[in-house]
Symmetry: C2
Subunit: 586 residues, 2 copies
């Protein structure tokens, strides 16, 4: 009990007042689309008036932000973590009539890492856990496709504009119709310097049809499992805003369900566009259930992690059957994308032998061990068609894992890495054949001069499927600051066309991230993504810089804070010098 | 007294034990040159042995680091802040026989911001200051040229290799003769990926003759005032290691002499290659004297700041005479480079009227006000030949200030900025005519896609003189994190050829940096500079990454910490997860 109290004192996060306090002068607003139920959320920041030289005042418009924080920052939606979020997409999914609820896979004690129901029950009593996943009030019956693929890719290829597509079009435009940037008047709020899109083809305005066409071409994905109807649609692709992912997850020495949900909310509060749950150890089914029911952003996982738990942590005992079972289990829960390391081929493993740091991807390492133990080809590769045939029934997107990514500058762009990338291209075509959405994971540790080659080869070998990189870290020498070593690489590859940047926290290489590490990582990556959007010339993104600089120039300190990526940090650093409230207004 | 004690408790920095504690397993070593007195300092980190699979052990070599911390980290040199550092360059300067001590400019109360000696004395008694600059035991008689320029540029043009040039050659090579990188064996400590030098021409090994030739060509400068003999020579240029500068300085609401010296030591401990003293307000002569006598790195200033103090803070009252007097005052003290905003021309000022943020450079703003008040051309421009004729007598380098640099993304690369840059090119030629070393200051706030244009135009208009940029910040939206928004731009422009990166701290736009802000800024910029060196392919720089990654791969945690850019941070973040000492060895 003492430990519980301590935790809740330390973490008063799931509290509306606390959440709202981080973003002052803000309110959540919605722009409606033409499809019923399409209500696209934004955050709007109110500003003070400008004091003119003649003593008059000139009002400043609200500034609108892309908002990932979901209903947590909407006072109109009750905050009941135990109940889950509203299932906003359910009517759209039902209306399509191509999926149906069914009696899903029977839950098993091993899903949470227990040998029997008895073990599970005892452990839960011991830990004071409030029932297993089965008894969660959150659970609903899973859905799956009746026959054809229920993926956004399948719809796009048939020429259909789904409500999800309309949602992301409005979202990318910040809900505005007029998106033509001003090119000459540097004082205008809508002024924008010309971008250098480096091959991206970004229209002045994102239309639902453009979204559809980009998905149909495989250049973008809209991760949206039909069993995660709580998610607010978002899109990943070179011709859209650059997105960021935050990893959370417990571990053997880990944290509780509540803490993981708090980390989720914390990450999306600061701006994570998707969240990966990398939990291992006990209770991962239950943790995932809570995360999904609580998440307005797409959730990704690495199913091999749970499969490994089910075979007692021994990679050589993994089998297609256990893995397949895990895919279904997680697809039914609503995971939006799976990292699948199907490109780690048996013949590539020896290529890593003379590396500086061997194989650093956990998934890559597990599969390399399996391949060597059995001297057989990676079962994810040999069963890839079956994987696709499962995922298409739920619209789980595939994130093709780079199990052989370099873990040191010395290993950058080596043959192991590039051989795997070519195989990922081959797998991309198979996924597309099954109407499964796919993106490609990328490294890792790459010095600045070799980043462009990564982007170029990915576009070429993987047919312009969206790229999703970890950093990259541009040097190995600064543990404790890898959010910075990697934000440098992330900004560059984001500019070059990478669709999503997986964050790296200051704790990378040192330990599991705590809350402040998550914040530092998300903020560093929001900086990288926004710098990349500016560089690409995505229409309208410079308005944020312009509004903040105007507030700065006019000494409207409160506005400068409110418009900041992290208002609380900006204000607190300013307060160290000048704490008086009177110093904050113009 | 209470305040004093509090300060010394807060700041036990000038203490050998404290200083050494930040860099474990380290010792300062020297490599001697052929010129007498050329003893080039490095830091060497000892490593544990690697445990081999067969139970044996394989020793790991010491790893050598470029070291800016000066005698502060050498236990063989007594730490007596009141006495100043050893004047290691004095014998070289004397041996050249082209300069002589003289009775310098008479000190005046106004130098420290006082109207009379009486005022000054009273204030010092009130503050408990230990005597004015005049009574400092540190003071020595200033030197100046007998007749010809005593600049490293003048020597280089005459074909002379000075001891300073030999010093920097050894320093850039880390004191090693064998600098040929390994290109195929990724496991080798000397393995290095090919760089993309983007026009830089970096030899496999830096020779003293190469240093001389680069200085003679104006492509590099070696800032080394003959009145700052305590400095350890270093070089700035596109074909050398990328350097970083840290700004310190008191202000009206400011800090004491001791605090500024502590900030200096703190900045060079983390790796600042030069330090700019931007003090304003009272006591700036005295603070500068202490900083110079305590600094093993070149010190830069912006003399117009002190000149403005001398005229009561009223820009329109500035005159060439006051400014000239300040130049001599500071040159005699030993300042190594002056930022001179001679490119802010009267006709450029109106170009800033329709900017988002007008003129944000303090120097630029002062001179713009002067120009408008007098409706005359900038007196730094009209007297530029005279400025050069003064500086050549001391070897003060010129850093041509970018007074019209953009202060917002919206103002990047605008006509005001680029017009000034062209004028800086014209002034570069004048400086060179007088054998004065010169570098060019650059922005500022620049989005990623416009950074290359800055570098290209600087090289073209300013004849490849070294570029020295503030960041650039790649977005305006993250006050509180501008060390990150700008490290991204700094890494990129460093790669593209910028010689020195002026750091930005998290407090930029919010207040004066405290000690932890200085550390955060320096570390972020060391990351940017090292990432740039890797990208350019500077020979040998990847060894650091390789050694650290090997330690990481072998779970030699103590070595991983010791090899880190910030060992203390790496260890403390790791300790949050696993505090046991036993967990730190392989």
């Amino acid at each position: 009990m003492a430990a519980n109290r301590q935790r809740s004192e330390r973490s008063p996060l799931l509290n509306r007042e606390t959440l709202l306090s981080y973003f002052p002068q803000s309110q959540r607003v919605y722009v409606c689309g033409t499809n019923p139920g399409v209500r696209v959320p934004f955050r709007e920041v109110r500003q003070e008036a400008t004091r003119l030289a003649d003593g008059g005042r000139e009002s400043n418009p609200n500034v609108r932000f892309y908002d990932t924080s979901g209903p947590y920052t909407d006072p109109a939606v009750p905050l009941e973590p135990g109940k889950g979020l509203p299932a906003i997409r359910l009517p759209w999914i039902e209306a399509r009539g191509d999926s149906e609820p069914y009696f899903g896979r029977a839950a098993q004690p091993i899903d949470d890492g227990y040998l029997s129901w008895n073990h599970k029950e005892k452990a839960e009593k011991r830990n004071g856990a409030s029932g297993g996943a089965l008894s969660l009030p959150l659970s609903r019956q899973p859905r799956r496709a009746k026959r054809d693929a229920v993926t956004q890719l399948a719809y796009a290829r048939r020429g259909i504009v789904t409500p999800e597509m309309e949602f992301v079009a409005i979202r990318e435009n910040l809900g505005r119709e007029d998106r033509v940037p001003e090119r000459s008047d540097r004082e205008a709020l809508s002024f924008q310097l010309p971008g250098a899109p480096l091959g991206a083809r970004i229209p002045e305005r994102i239309t639902p049809e453009f979204v559809r066409d980009e998905i149909a071409a495989g250049r973008a994905i809209l991760p949206a499992n039909i069993n995660h109807p709580e998610s607010e649609p978002m899109i990943l692709g070179r011709n859209f805003r650059v997105k960021i992912n935050a990893n959370i997850g417990n571990s053997a020495i880990g944290s509780s369900v509540e803490e993981e949900v708090e980390k989720l909310v914390w990450a999306i509060l600061w701006g994570a566009d998707t969240v990966m749950d990398l939990s291992t150890g006990k209770d991962i089914h239950r943790i995932r259930e809570w995360i999904l029911r609580s998440s307005p952003v797409p959730i990704g996982t690495v199913p091999i992690y749970q499969a490994l738990e089910k075979v007692g942590g021994r990679p050589e005992e993994l089998s297609w059957e256990v893995y397949r079972d895990t895919l279904i289990e997680q697809a039914e829960q609503g995971v939006d994308y799976f990292t699948i390391h199907a490109g780690v081929l048996l013949r590539y493993v020896p290529l890593t032998a003379r590396r500086r740091c061997g194989i650093v991807s956990r998934g890559g390492s597990i599969l390399a061990k399996w391949c060597l133990a059995h001297h057989e080809e990676n079962f994810l590769y040999t069963h890839f068609e079956e994987i696709c045939s499962i995922l298409r029934a739920y619209d789980v997107s595939i994130s093709l894992g780079d199990g052989l990514r370099p873990g040191a500058i010395a290993d950058a762009n080596d043959e192991a890495q590039l051989a795997e990338l070519r195989t990922l291209g081959e797998l991309t075509q198979i996924a597309w054949k099954h109407d499964v959405q796919v993106m490609i994971e990328g490294p890792g540790h790459i010095p600045l001069q070799l980043i462009q080659e990564n982007m170029d080869l990915e576009l070429r070998h993987c047919w312009e499927a969206p790229f999703y990189t970890l950093g990259p870290l541009t040097t190995d020498v600064a543990p404790g600051y890898d959010h910075i070593t990697s934000a440098i690489g992330a900004a560059l590859i984001g500019w070059q066309g990478c669709a999503m940047l997986c964050y790296v926290t200051p704790k990378e290489h040192l330990g599991l991230p705590a809350r402040e590490d998550v914040r530092a990582g998300v903020v560093a990556y929001k900086i990288a993504a926004h710098a990349a959007d500016l560089a690409k010339g995505f229409p309208g993104v410079q308005e944020w810089d312009n509004a903040l600089s105007k507030a700065r120039f006019e000494f409207r300190w409160n506005d400068q804070f409110a418009l900041s990526l992290d208002p609380t940090m900006a204000r607190s650093l300013h307060d160290e010098a000048l704490p008086q409230e009177a110093a904050k207004s113009a």
